[in-house]
Amino acid sequence: MEPVRYRVLHETRYDYGSNVSLSQQQLHLSPRVLDWQQVEEQRIDITPVPTWRRDGRDAFGNPVTWMAFHTPHDELFIRSAMTVAVMPHLPKDIEASLPWEEVRDRLAYDSTDPIPSDLDATRFLFESPHVRVKHELADYAADCFPPETPVLVGTQALMAKIFREFTFDPEATTVSTPVLEVLEKKRGVCQDFAHLMIACLRALGLAARYVSGYLLTRPPPGKPRLIGADASHAWVSVYAPGSENDWVDFDPTNNLLPNTEHITLAFGRDFSDISPLRGIILGGGGTEPDVAVTVIPLDEEDIPEELLVAKADASPPSRLPKAADASKPAKTDPDDK
């Protein structure tokens, strides 16, 4: 099977309005290399030039960049450009996955040496800052997991249930809306649905992680692709030992199993571990960023010249196209696929 290659451009601009005298930033903007994902090219350009910068890996193995700005500046522009190849990696037969109780019991502690992959999965088994584990969540997921249900079948049913019962609504939530409130309102964006689904799975004793990345969107027929019209995306990965990669991705916002149209940046326990750009500033006025994401399938479309090569200088384009809203990707109709 052929990999699908993409060019992704992720631009973030802060216009602080007044001077920021000191700023420190943590970036999760470099794609992770996976068994099914190669990173052919990748670079991050920053204006102004940071006073200090260090690249490394975080505790979950994701690439991370820290940087600091020690001199006054009133805007910050970060441009991450990458070429990534994604291989098809759908699970062959979800019916063949282990019964969910068996997975649950393997993850529970019994004072013997755990299997390394199980131990590894327990990192994603417990509460985390955005994922409270409450019995309401186990109750919500219960009808998707009758006894002896293969874990991937149950997870798919849970994804479908969330997709069916929840409404995509960028106005309903913020970055910090708790999952129980999302459960009550039945509204939210991809981040909320991912957190909710993770919370349900963990409440059942299953391990689930939060994946951040990008999703290919299709312009309306006959219309050209708009630069910056996409957005970053988030979905869920569940631990299913015995399946091809031990972990299988689910996208509750779109009710599908991610394959070659999802590009992975990083994974963690939840959003807080891998927020694309997190910082602390001293001074400044406005702190709402403009974010623009463009995802282009390299082998299908002509690439606008500005995206073809990573720019040597990081001078920002005079005007960033205004993305509809950063955290809220347009919902893709699954029937299109």
Binding site: R54, D58, A59, D113, P114, L125, D273, I280
Partner: protein, 839 residues
Amino acid sequence: MARTLLAIYPHSPRRYDEMLAADGSVRPHWNQFLEHLDAVTPEEMRRRLDFSEQRIQENGVTYNVYADPNGADRPWALDPLPLIIPPDEWAELSAAVAQRATLLNAILDDLYGEQTLLAEGLLPPALVYGQHGYLWPCRGVKPPGGVWLHNYAVDLARSPNGRWWVIADRTQAPSGAGYALENRLIVSRVFPEMFRDLHVQHVADFFRDQLDGLTALAPVEGDEQPHMVLLTPGPYNETYFEHAYLARYLGFPLVEGQDLTVRGETVYLKTLRGLKRVHVILRRQDDAYCDPLELRGESALGIPGLLNVARAGRVVIANALGSGLLASGALMGFLPAICRHLLGEKLAMPSVATWWCGEKPALDYVKENFDDLVIKPAYPTQNMDPVFGNELKGEARAEMLRRIEARPHAYVAQEMVNLSQAPTWSRAHERRLLARPVGLRAYAVTTPDGYSVMPGGLARVTTGAGTRIISMQRGGASKDCWVLTNGPVSQFSLLKPSVGVRDLVRAGSNLTSRVVENLFWLGRYSERFDDSARMLRVALSRVVVGGGQKTPVVIAAMELARRLGVLPEPGEDTEVKEGGEHELLEAIYDPEQPGSLARNIRALMWSATHVRERLSLDHWHSLNRLQRDQQAALKTHPTLTEAIAFLDRVLGVSSSLTGFAMDNMTRDDGWRFLFIGRRLERLSFLSMMVAHFLRMPAARSQGSLEWLLELSDSIITYRSRYSRQPELLPVVDLLVFDESNPHGVVFQGNVLGNYLERMGRELGDDFGAGLAAALAPLQAFDLRRLENIQFDSARDYSACEELADILQSLDSAANKLSEALGMRYFTHVGDVSRQTMAV
């Protein structure tokens, strides 16, 4: 004699008694002390208790019960009788404490590194990954020397068979060692003969070991001296007293997060004389709040970027970030096996029997033996008080069991321990010993040769004989702990017996920018509060004299108050009520109104709180009283007379604050900033007061000049010089040009210039130029132009306007100076770092 004290001492067979053996005889190591106690007369004992209480009061030893900005701190409670421990018993105990510290350090190193404990199934992942205390970003950090746990404390209790057990481990930022030190300094003077004769081991060596241990680890480069600081969350923390006390004792600057700043991979202290690299941070702030960039982002307390300095190994953070993890009681049951695995030894001291409900067999046991157990949270970050199984009945019990069933891994159960009892001195009786349950908190610090254990510690007793939880928050008392030795007593002391010439400390050069900034604002606010009280008193007394009528004088005074920002600008729809009483009362008492006196009091309190250790207790109390009066008045609708009396008291407090600062504070950089703040504020107020007055048509009425003199506190000077009604020229001369009147513009300008010049010489900056330039036109102003102007009826006010313009530019120069000083020297405590997030 001894019989009298022992005769009524309650002896319980169910508990181990520290003083009495099972057969009722006095334990040998208590004999001498008890005899001494019996020989002391009640009067003498009373005198000693008074001494102890007095020391606590004078030293301001407090324990904040609530985070209450109004200062609800409570004097430290100390029972004068020490807990006495014989040499051989201590040798065993301290070795066990040191072993446990070594073990816990090794566990932290493993869990943030290789994680063999998880891989071998020696510890459930729930107790690591399931804890908020496991700080993920710290995974892979290698602290200098491999030391995570620099300061360790352990709560110990003695079971009925006489063995010591561990009740709880403190690994976050253990508190109490400073209180233990203060207790020692007091109790050793309450019983000086006994302290000497019994060969009590001194605790000073322990603090020297702590210094040595941190010094050895400090990542210094070249010939750098290790620069160590004590990081406190601030004055509202319950043990703030101890932070300040230890910082002084160890000789560390006491700093808050805002005092430190990270540049690249180095952390610095912001001082008046620039950034100074910090090598060691002795941390009393919880780790999750230490770096908002990677840990809890909503925290304004932290130091953004600190983790990157830790990753680079360029700072010792004691304890290392992430150490709070091990305070979980759920770990206790796993320690014996882990000790064998990591240290290859048997765990020397048992923990109180503990069941982690996350294991099925343990959960079953807990359900079956609920009445004999204490239920506690498994994770120290959970907010839950211990629950005694046998006290839970009916629905409450069923509810607790349901909660445990739903999230078993979040709970532990511990065997109920019958604490040992120790004698305490009764305050209610003339001469009586009471028996109270006692626990001991012991301390260990890292040194190059392993852990050193404080000989002694903080012993604590409960309030009642039957009380089960020992807690200072709940009103328990503390005790000194005397560890006896057979050998000689080390005489080392960090408190030098006498000060030599080399030890002389002159005006502190180590002032942090934050302290200087708070002093500057304390100066500005105390002047501002004085000015607005005076302005309000002038207006209010004119209202009273006018019988509530809007006389021209009242109108003029209120307009000036408005122009000076003491009264708010009237909104378009608000009809000014007749007489203006209501408006004036609001400007005094309403803290929500911008510019009000109440608001100034609040701002003053805020600055004062942050430099509290530099104020006398008396002044602190009078400020507190003032704020309480103002808050009480909000509810009672004070009359005009009461309001005037309140303003009189405000002015009284204000002048005593000034007197204190002039007479009693050392003239260091901090003092200078306090007075620069005051002078700047007054210069600005006086300039604008005269400028507005000269321009206001409303002021051009009879009697105005008189209240202007009153407002600037110069009326007595005027009368003594000119025995006639106030006239424009002499009044302006006095309030603006007279170089000897402290309530005059030129006087303030000159004094301020002197301060700036002195500061410029010492700190190498020149801030005086702008001010001097703004003062020059005043010197050039020809006063003869004001001759023969009848202020209430002149035809030409152009000379007045011109003078007003000069004064106004002087005010601008003062404001610019204030900003420039802030840019250069302050941390900008008002400018809080903010988190930003993009997806």
